[in-house]
């Protein structure tokens, strides 16, 4: 083999590897660019009014999104109340009790549900919850988001329960504990951190969802009382304000974007730090 050929091959090798580095660098750079731009634009437009005041009518400057912040909180709470129990207990069934047939059906259904575009979930929630009651409501929005939380919670509960060492299980059984007692007092506590992480990640994911809320929770320029009224949420507000022609609304959209992204990223980082500390195995 001639030296020139070898040099060429080495050059190609170094060049291409450098290019892959550039690809990775560019991809990560996007994140910092997004963060920076949002912090800059949102930071200059955010103020105390944003958190405490209601939206002002078109043309009047000022006002805030207090109703949307409360609305998002309400819907996320209700969504968790629906999604977490179904996902968690269903996950226990998959990991601990299931026979072969039923388990694969449940797994398949969950994976299918996980891949459904969020707008389609919105259609489903609309025809199931909005149409029969004849009005947009917080619980219709929560139903849509809760549905999206189920598959994530379910599959990760199963994964983490299955990763609990056999020894713990056998130890509890050997002490005469029944199966459900073993699960409730030994296995679930051992997998607790992992499951918490999964629930938080599911929450972070649905917190930013807009499409399924457009025709379930809809939106509202005022506070919504109770659960059965159209409810404003942060993501939907960002959308409506961003595509509007008013400069003051654009400013508020940036502020809302900063708050939403901050919330989602904080939950994400929190969840990942919980997990990275490892799955705690309680000592007896």
């Amino acid at each position: 083999m001639s030296g020139a050929r070898l040099r060429w091959r080495k050059f190609v090798s170094n060049f291409m590897l450098a290019m892959t580095g550039v690809c990775a660098f560019v991809s990560v750079l996007v994140l910092f660019f997004i963060l920076g731009y949002l912090v800059f634009n949102g930071g200059t437009s955010i103020n105390w009014d944003f958190f405490t005041k209601l939206p002002k009518p078109v043309g009047e400057a000022g006002g805030g999104m207090a109703n949307a912040i409360v609305g998002s909180g309400k819907i996320l709470l209700l969504a968790s109340l629906m999604g977490v129990p179904i996902g968690f207990l269903g996950g226990i069934y998959l990991a601990e009790f299931s026979g072969k047939g039923m388990a694969s059906v449940v797994r398949y259904a969950a994976d299918l549900l996980n891949g459904v575009p969020s707008i389609v979930i919105g259609i489903f929630a609309y025809s199931l919850v909005v149409l029969p009651f004849k009005h947009f409501s917080a619980y219709a929005g929560a139903f849509a988001l809760g549905m999206m939380m189920i598959p994530i919670t379910l599959r990760s509960t199963e994964e983490f329960l299955k990763s609990v060492p056999r020894m713990l299980r056998e130890g509890a059984m050997a002490l005469g504990a029944s199966k459900w007692k073993t699960i409730a007092t030994v296995i679930v506590p051992a997998a607790y951190r992992g499951i918490m992480t999964a629930i938080l990640l599911a929450l972070a994911r649905v917190a930013g969802e807009t499409a399924p809320l457009l025709f379930t929770a809809f939106g509202n320029r005022f506070d919504s009382h109770g659960w059965s009224q159209p409810t404003a949420t942060l993501p939907v507000m960002i959308y409506t304000y961003a595509v509007s022609p008013y400069d003051d609304w654009h400013r508020q959209a940036w502020a809302a974007g900063l708050v939403l992204l901050g919330l989602v990223l904080i939950i994400n980082i929190l969840a990942r730090t919980i997990l990275s500390r490892g799955i705690a195995v309680p000592r007896s």
Partner: protein, 328 residues
């Protein structure tokens, strides 16, 4: 060893043959039934989803049949609905997104899996996971205020001047359009391609790399001619996953595609996508046929992503299993 095996084998049936009632007394059977109930709910909800979509799209199926997919008139006043412009827009934006995201994503994945020290790789992966968690409406917001103006001032002139004779770069630009939506989608799906491809590349056994290096190949040759082909199906899986996500993406596309139900060859022209038309017109749809046509579009979207996700999962599983078989 043999004795232990027999004892363990015999231990199984003893617990299994406990009567239903003794299990009920322990609470085991109750716990099983309760968790089964919740697990069954998941199946029920999924089945109900498919059922509702199917039942609520019966009118356009009866009236238009398969013509629904090939006619391009979308006219609520005349009650005529054809899905072609939306299907076209969805396919074009997703194709543009993949053209940008696949090389960039796979390149980054190769760097993370093959080149970067584990510490650096994990840190970068952490940031990429965060990128995947950014809500789509935020990408839409940035699209509207950054990429749309950039399109008008930078991207359009650079592409239109030298390549304007090509049909895809012809015509005026309004900032919004297929290309803008494609770029925003590309930024959104890159993290998915990186995460899954990196995972798949890391599952390629070490001896494959070492064998290639021992035969005198350079680092790049071992990566490109041995490791990547080994992980090929899994990487395909990651691309399908990204495609499914791009097809179903609503908010970011709605905000930058221009929302015009027209089929245009130019990438600068405004268009429409399936998800965008549902988002925009669903609450305003008057008349059953109008609403059901939108739901029929939802059904199309559902079926597309269903098939792609299924294929993706299959490909990823096949590759990671191949890795553990050869490696193990």
């Amino acid at each position: 060893v043999a004795t232990t095996a027999t004892t363990l084998k015999n231990a199984g049936p003893v617990t299994g043959s406990r009567s239903f009632f003794s299990k009920l007394r322990d609470g085991d059977e109750i716990a099983r039934l309760i968790t089964l109930l919740f697990a069954a709910t998941v199946v029920l909800i999924t089945a109900a989803l498919v059922w509702e979509l199917w039942v609520n799209s019966v009118l356009p199926r009866q009236k238009f049949g398969l013509h629904f997919f090939v006619t391009s008139v979308w006219d609520p006043i005349m009650d005529q609905y054809g899905a072609l412009p939306f299907i076209y827009g969805t396919i074009v934006t997703s194709a543009v997104a993949l053209l940008i995201a696949v090389p960039l994503g796979i390149g980054a994945a190769i760097f993370l899996a093959e080149l970067a020290p584990p510490r650096v790789s994990d840190t970068l992966q952490f940031f990429i996971d965060l990128l995947a968690a950014v809500p789509s409406v935020i990408y839409g917001l940035l699209g509207v205020f950054i990429i749309v103006p950039l399109m008008r001032t930078v991207i359009y002139p650079t592409l239109n001047k030298p390549f304007g004779y090509l049909p895809i770069f012809k015509g005026p630009s309004y900032g919004v359009g297929f290309l803008t939506a494609g770029i925003v989608l590309a930024i959104m799906v890159i993290p998915y391609i990186i995460s899954v491809s990196r995972e798949v590349l890391l599952s390629v056994p070490r001896d494959q790399r070492e064998a290639a290096l021992a035969l005198g190949s350079t680092r790049w040759e071992s990566t490109w001619q041995v490791v990547v082909p080994f992980a090929k199906t899994g990487i395909m899986g990651s691309i399908f996953l990204a495609l499914a996500r791009a097809l179903g993406e609503t908010m970011a596309v709605t905000m930058v595609i221009g929302n015009t139900p027209k089929i245009a060859a130019s990438l600068f022209a405004p268009g429409y996508s399936i998800a965008a038309v549902i988002a925009n017109e669903f609450t305003e749809a008057t008349g059953d046929l109008y609403l059901q046509s939108l739901i029929a579009l939802g059904l199309v979207l559902f079926l597309l992503t269903f098939i792609l996700n299924g294929l993706a999962r299959l490909l990823i599983v096949v590759t990671t299993q191949k890795g553990s078989e050869v490696g193990g």
